[in-house]
């Protein structure tokens, strides 16, 4: 079997006395789509924060493309090909949609940032690929609906050209039509560019058609793993969800 794209080994994270992750281990292969579910506070967002190095793990190892990435800062991980969306969208508030995309497309080379011109055509393409109209590309986030803000999160993530995309509650607060549109985009990107996803979602119906495999977290521990049908019929999983 090919080497996994991402390997997480015995990952722990404590916040003071709170043990938010208790030894999580999983792999994801290139091109696979993994669902990550669990009740509120289970530790799903924490997993993303650790993969991006927005938080430091208490213990454990994360390998990307076979290499331990412990020493890589957030921006360096992004450059290697990992990107994430935020549960609460975090756009640059005083910039247009196009400029938000521009920042995410920017290189780390200061001289190129000064001398090069922004690629406005590419910005528009990315905006359109997530469903923005030409008019919307010029507006600021304060004028966007929740659905549009989630679209903007997607656009910003596409702009960094990731291999692995971590999606945190991309369907929350969206209409059925918007969910269908984002799902379609995810499938299309995967077919075209072979993207790999980890999707966190409380909306199991939206998640079901997208995922190859699902992990279930409860109180920071992995309680089930398998196909979507397997895990939602699992006794322990039902208990964890009902018990909350």
């Amino acid at each position: 079997m090919a080497e996994p794209l991402l390997e997480v080994r015995d990952l722990h994270k404590s916040f003071g006395g709170l043990h938010a992750l208790r030894g999580l281990t999983f792999n994801i292969a290139a091109g696979e789509t993994l669902g990550l579910i669990g009740p509120n506070g289970a530790g799903k967002t924490t997993v993303f924060n650790l993969i991006m190095n927005e938080l430091k793990p208490t213990a454990g190892e994360i390998r990307f493309e076979g290499k331990n990435i412990a020493r890589l800062a957030t921006h360096a991980r992004v450059k290697r090909g990992i990107a994430r969306t935020y549960q609460v969208p975090k756009p640059f508030g005083e910039m247009s949609v196009a400029e938000n995309i521009r920042v995410c497309m920017a290189t780390d080379d200061l001289w190129k940032l000064i001398s090069g011109r922004p690629d406005e055509a590419a910005e528009r393409d990315i905006g359109q690929s997530v469903g923005f109209t030409d008019q919307q590309i010029g507006v600021q986030p304060s004028e966007l609906s929740m659905g549009d803000l989630r679209r903007l999160e997607m656009a910003r993530n596409i702009a960094v050209r990731p291999k692995l995309l971590l999606l945190d509650e991309v369907f929350a607060g969206l209409t059925l039509g918007e969910i269908a549109q984002i799902s379609e985009l995810l499938v299309e990107k995967k077919q075209k560019e072979g993207l790999t996803y980890i999707i966190v979602s409380h909306d199991l119906r939206a998640l079901a058609p997208l995922v190859d495999r699902v992990l279930v977290l409860s109180f920071g521990a992995l309680i089930a793993e398998g196909s979507f049908e397997e895990v939602i019929n699992d006794e322990g999983v039902r208990e964890a969800y009902l018990g909350q």
Binding site: V78, R84, Y86, F92, V103, L113, R156
Partner: protein, 315 residues
């Protein structure tokens, strides 16, 4: 270059031409006042490229200006170094000072960062008084420093040219993608990292540019005054003047601090007969408040919206 930039460059050209013709019509007294406006504009732009852009608020700009001033003053006055060498050396020293400034910015931001920079200023103030007073001149400072040119008109042109070139370069700089990246840091530094950008590198760049500009301004200032004293530079009113010029003009815009500097200098001058003493500084607070309540983005933004109204009216 895009069309808007070219159009606005026309504005810069017009501004340059008008300011170059000014000595033909105004008194040398007014020119002397404008010279101070030019220095203030340089300092306010230096503050703006750092604090107005990235949101790392500096309360310690006099620290940077002081390093430049003392370096060139000591080198030229005490050691006879020619000023065409001492001034670049002063700018280099200021950039080293800017790196010191940058160290706390790796860990802290907001109010804490501002207070640390204030402490830098205070430390340098005390140091100039007690460490090697024979060299720094202690509390009295140094006077009789060589000037670059003499007379109001040559000094007016020199300071205007320096201010104009710095302003134009900074203005062009913030219109590039680096300007957007730096303002993104102010909006959400974590999100800039998640966009794959090295914020440390970007911040260091902003600090270095800011320090270089403060260095040029500080060195020229000392060679214009012909003297330097700790109380003139490491003074809270000096700091406030810089901050208020940038803020009422419109922080983050480069053009704003220039407008703010002219506005503030002229305002203080008109008030001189009415309020001869320090109470003029009291007015800073009031002016800042009025501008804030009326237009938080400064005079620059007032003018921009006025221009939009005019062009809408025409069509």
């Amino acid at each position: 270059m895009d069309k808007t930039t070219l159009k606005l460059l026309g504005g810069w050209l017009l501004f340059g031409v008008i300011m170059c013709l000014l000595p033909l019509v105004v008194s040398t007294g007014t020119l002397r006042i404008l010279i101070f406006a030019h220095f203030l504009a340089i300092f306010a732009m230096s503050w703006d490229i750092l604090s107005g852009r990235t949101g790392y608020i500096s309360f310690g700009h006099p620290f940077l200006i002081g390093i430049a001033g003392y370096t060139t003053a000591i080198l030229s006055f005490r050691y006879g170094v020619p000023i065409y060498f001492s001034i670049p050396a002063a700018v280099a020293a200021t950039m080293v000072g800017g790196t010191l400034f940058f160290v706390p910015a790796l860990r802290i931001r907001g109010t804490y960062f501002a207070l640390v920079t204030l402490a830098f200023m205070e430390i340098l103030y005390q140091m100039t008084k007690v460490v090697a007073p024979k060299v720094t001149g202690g509390t009295r400072g140094i006077s009789g420093i060589e000037t670059i040119v003499t007379g109001a008109v040559p000094n007016y042109y020199l300071t205007f040219a320096a201010m104009f070139v710095i302003g134009l370069l900074l203005w062009l700089l913030v219109r590039t993608r680096i300007g957007i990246a730096l303002s993104a840091i102010q909006m959400d530094e974590e999100a800039v990292k998640s966009a794959g950008l090295n914020t440390t590198k970007l911040k260091l760049f902003a600090f270095m540019v800011s320090a270089a500009v403060a260095g040029i301004g500080g060195a020229f200032y000392v060679h214009y005054l012909g003297s330097i004293a700790p109380r003139g530079i490491f003074e809270i009113n000096f700091l406030f003047t810089i901050l208020i010029a940038a803020l009422i003009g419109g922080a983050g815009t480069i053009v704003g601090p220039i407008i703010g500097a002219y506005f503030l200098t002229m305002l203080l001058e008109f008030l001189r007969p009415v309020l001869p003493g320090m109470e003029r500084y009291f007015l800073y607070g009031i002016v800042a408040l009025v501008v804030y309540v009326y237009q938080p983005n400064g005079i620059h933004s007032l003018l921009a919206s006025a221009r939009r109204h005019l062009s809408v009216g025409k069509s």
